[in-house]
Every structure is written in C-alpha cells, then in structure tokens.
C-alpha cells in the first residue's frame, strides 16, 4: 500500500536537548526507521512552558508565533515530543487562530524580523502522529520485536489532555490512544488510577516536597497495577518519574524501582532499533530487568 509521505517541522523543546538528550536521539532514530521526515526547528525558541505565560502571556504568545511562522513558511505542521510544549504551543496556536486582533498585534512585532503568521499551523505530539497520521496498523507492520507479555503503564499525564478546548485530541476522562499504541506494539496495557494525573514536575523547583510526593503517588499507582514499566510522551514527566525517582522515594520513604522509558524508546525497541541507539543506559532507573524478556541480548 502507498502511503502519503509524512513531513513535519520538528520542535524538540528544551529538555530533549538538555536533561533528556536520549529522547531527541531516539526520536530521530525512530522516525528514520518509520520513514517520517523531520525538519528540525533549530531556530525555534522555548515554548514558554506556561511559566513565561504566568509573567507575561503575550510575550509567550509572540515567541510561539515566531515558531509557528517558521513552520508555516515551510508548509509543515509541527510535531513535538513534550506534553508541556504541546499544551503551550497548542493553546497559543488556538489563541492566534481565534483572535485576529491578537494575531495582528503580534504580527506587528514579528514584522521587524520579516515574519508573519496567518494561523494555519497544527501542533501535534508524537503520540498523536504515530496513532493518527502514521496509523497503528502501519506501525504494527513495522514491529519486528513485539513486546509480548510486557505489562506497560501508559502515562498520559495531564498536559497532553487538558484543557480539552485548546489541545483536545481525545476524551481527557477516558483516553485510549496510548494503550492502543501499546497493543499495536504487542504489549499489554495496564489500567491504573494515575494514568492521567499530574507528575508534579512544574513545581519541582518551587515546592520539592509536594512535587515529589505527586511523582511517588504515580509510581505507586503503576506498581499496584503490576506494571513492568511506565512509558511517557513527555520529558518533564520523565524527569519527575525517572531522574528524580531515587530522591523522591527517599524523601517519602517509598522504596522500590519502577523503570520509566520515553515513548520513542519503547516504540523504537519494538521496531527493532538497538537499545544502544535508543540510549536506554541514560535512564536513572535501569529498565534492563523489565525489558529482559523482550529485548534481544
């Protein structure tokens, strides 16, 4: 069957180029194998993460309008690999689409740099691209290393799903895309209470105690559902759940180990990419034991 070529303006976000370089590299490897063409937006700024928005909403919108104008210039939609990027880019894209007077005001600022944004860019997370644009049947056909028997806790998290008016891809009270993707990879999705609840990342540097308590709760909920592994579409969730996991468990006296991999790493493994190229060794909690049965030695 002939498929139409998929090309995206690839918005890496800051964390996949900083704290989680394995996310960027595994995404590039995966897209190569799947034949998804990525035009990396090396000129794009930070999405603002809602933090710039807290201080100055229009400054964040202007920075993101510049990013949209670059994608629009290439005639491409944006793919991102972070729920916070998705939420903030999605929200700001909607604001610029729905409010012509705001768009005019922002374009007035961009004019100086020879940029204009007309409101025609769609922002998609990699999860949605895999499920809807690429298609799960097509993905299943690429699986050479099925995740048979692996119990996977898909962590949708919060910002990928809400606010539903701005970013809505699916029902935030009953999301199914991620579990369907796990099934297409041959794995077994587990249902657990925390799958759409917050990891606490956004208050990690403001209130570490509360933030890590939230992360520990999510890890424990996945443990209670007997998951072998968690998988996240967002590097910020990954920082909270993996990079900070040993510290969070220590702070709240919650012993245990729950490996957490990136979406691109899990799909990459199922598609036969070697664990070295996916940089699994960078994870704080080693997924080796959990993946022993499905990863070729």
């Amino acid at each position: 069957m002939e498929y139409k070529p998929l090309r995206y303006a690839y918005f890496t976000g800051c964390v996949a180029k900083g704290t989680c370089p394995e996310l960027h590299r595994s995404t590039v490897e995966l897209c190569k194998v799947l034949g998804i063409e990525l035009w990396e937006m090396t000129g794009a700024t930070c999405c603002g993460a809602g933090v710039i928005h807290d201080e100055n909403p229009e400054l964040q919108i202007a920075l993101n309008a510049r990013t949209f104008a670059m994608a629009e210039g290439q005639g491409m939609d944006i793919v991102n690999i972070c729920s916070t990027c998705q939420q903030n880019l999605g929200q700001d894209a909607k604001a610029l689409r729905d409010h012509p007077e705001l768009r005019a005001r922002i374009n007035d600022i961009l004019k100086d740099s020879g940029l204009q944004y007309t409101g025609n860019v769609t922002v998609k997370n990699l999860l949605w691209v895999l499920v809807s644009d690429y298609g799960l049947d097509r993905l299943a056909a690429k699986v050479t290393n099925p995740l048979t028997g692996l119990k996977v806790a898909s962590y949708y998290g919060c910002q990928l799903l809400r606010p539903v008016d701005e970013t809505g891809y699916e029902d935030p009270d009953n999301p199914t895309s991620f579990d369907n993707l796990v099934r297409a990879l041959g794995g077994t999705p587990v249902d657990y209470a925390g799958k759409t609840r917050c990891c606490g990342f956004h208050i990690l540097s403001v209130n570490e105690n509360t933030s890590t308590r939230m992360a520990v709760k999510r890890l424990q909920e996945a443990e209670e559902a007997e998951a072998d592994i968690m998988v996240t579409p967002c590097p910020l969730c990954h920082v909270s759940l993996d990079a900070y996991q040993p510290r969070a468990r220590k702070l709240h006296d919650a012993p245990g180990k729950m490996p957490v991999v990136h979406l691109s790493q899990l799909v990459g493994l199922a598609c036969g990419i070697d664990p070295g190229s996916l940089e699994l060794s960078r994870l704080m909690v080693s997924p080796k034991k959990a993946l022993a049965a499905v990863v070729p030695a």
Binding site: A49, G50, L63, R197, C198
Partner: protein, 323 residues
Amino acid sequence: MKSVLSVQRFIPEIDEAPHFESYELDLPDEATILDGLTYIKENIDDSLTFRRSCRSAICGSCSMVVNGYSKLTCKSPIAVELRRGRDEIVITPMRTMRVIKDLVVDMAPYWQHFRDVEPYLQPDPNKVPGKMEEYVVLPEQLAPSRRDLNCIQCAVCYSDCGVTEVSAEFAGPPALAKAHRFVTDPRDSKRRQRLEKLVDLGLWDCAHAYNCMECPKHVNPADAIADLRRMSIAEGITDNLGARHSQAFTENVERSGRLNESALVPETLGYTNISALLPIAPQGAMMALKGKMPLPIFHRKVDNYDEVKKIYAAFAKTSEDKE
C-alpha cells in the same frame, strides 16, 4: 437504557474498609448519574447516602468521583459514561476529604481554605459611598472576575486537583478563583495584602495540570491562578521561590532563546544560597553521571537569535510605556 452502577459503601464507625455494591438499573436514556443514585435510594436501598438538592447544577451538592473523575452528578448523563465503554460505572466519594458515610465527605478543610482567602469585599472606609449614593461598577470593571462569579462551590476541581491530593497546605483551585474575584474587584482595598497572603497560601504551588479546567460551571480556576501570579509579579511581590522561578525562567530564555536548564535551578534558588543548593547537589551529581546535566556554558543560541531579542525588546518597551 440498561446500566450497572458500582457504588462505594462505607460507614466508618462500623465497616473496616469501604466496599462496593452493584446495582442494575434500567432508566430513561436521559437519566443522569444522580437520577441513578436517587432511583437506588427510593427503590432498592434507602440506606445509600449521598448529598443532593437542586438537580440543576445550581446548588453544587452532588459532586462525586465517576469512573475516576470528579463530576457534578446531576450534570453527568449515564449515557456519556456508557459510551466510554466501561462495563460498570464506578462511583466513589470525592478525593482528599474524609468520608462521613458512603458518598458524603467532610468538607471542613475545603471551607477552611475559603475562609483563609477572606472571601468578602473589604472596601476602603473612606471611599464607601454615602447613604443615598451607590458605588458604580461598570460591567467592564467586573469582566476579569465574571467567570469566578459562576462558582457554585461544588468542589469538583478541589477533588480532582493533583496538588490538593497530596498537600493540605495548598489553598486549592476554588479558593484561589474566589480570591481572584476579590483581587480584581475595583471596590476592594486590600489588593496587595491579598496577593501577599496568597503566596503563603500556595499561589505558586499550582502544577498546571489543568484538571480544574473541566469545571462544570466553566469557572476554570487555572486561568484565575495564572492571572493572580501575573498580578503578583507586576505588584512587585517577588521575594518568593515561585516568582523568582518565573522571572529567572523568562530571563534565562531571553539569553539564548532556549531554556538553559542547568542554570535555572541556581538562578531560582540564588547562586549564593548554599543552604538551599547543598541538599540538591547529590541529585545534580547523579544526573551529571548519566549525561543529564549539560554544562551551562556550552548552551547554543537558537538560529536568528536577533529576532528573539527584538520580541523581548518590544515587550520591554510596552511595559516602559505603561509606567
């Protein structure tokens, strides 16, 4: 329309732990979750206990957790839950608060958070109009708080918030939305004091999870919280971690267009704040060992960085013009 409601039952004085009872119902297609519970109480088991009154999304009494998400049950059709493909509709009491019986929770902590934000107008005594005058407030002056005014105190957002779930100190979304209603009221004289107090009540503890944006009355407290944060920085209330983090973040991005993560933590806490930096140093070292702590000095600027400078400059100029 056939459905099965699986309802959590619990009498703390008698039962060791909560248990579930299932009820098979056959109700009209338009029946709500609350209709289902009322049917059970009137026809199957009159000991089932839950709060309800108006059945019209006005009184805010009938909030519960339905299949894992807090809802105003009079506004939640059974049919919607059936379409989500679950065999049973699982109904549990709201989160965070102690169960009194079955689906009724003790809302005392919720109301305490409201009292903490002083949810009443505090006008300047010198500006209060005389006996035969009125205090004219134009509709546009109340526009910022229009959504806040719709709150019916149903506590759906309080129950679904990921932060209130683990922190009793956090004021929570509804109390902060109520605070926003008075901070933005032109008749109130305590704007700055209110904003200062809100910092202590957890203004910066909101984690942007946006559960509260599923508000049955479209109050959407997360927007109110973001607006309070903006006003608090504009008011110069910046001697706290939350405001410093926000300001450091915005300045950090200005320097290269991209966030320089390794620099953000010391910038937020303060480079000389050894007592705050020392406890997290081992975490930094562990991340560095895994190649997760890029050196801040090797941080690349985005292409055409001068465009970013121009955007920042445009906003610096607007704020100067305002002053």
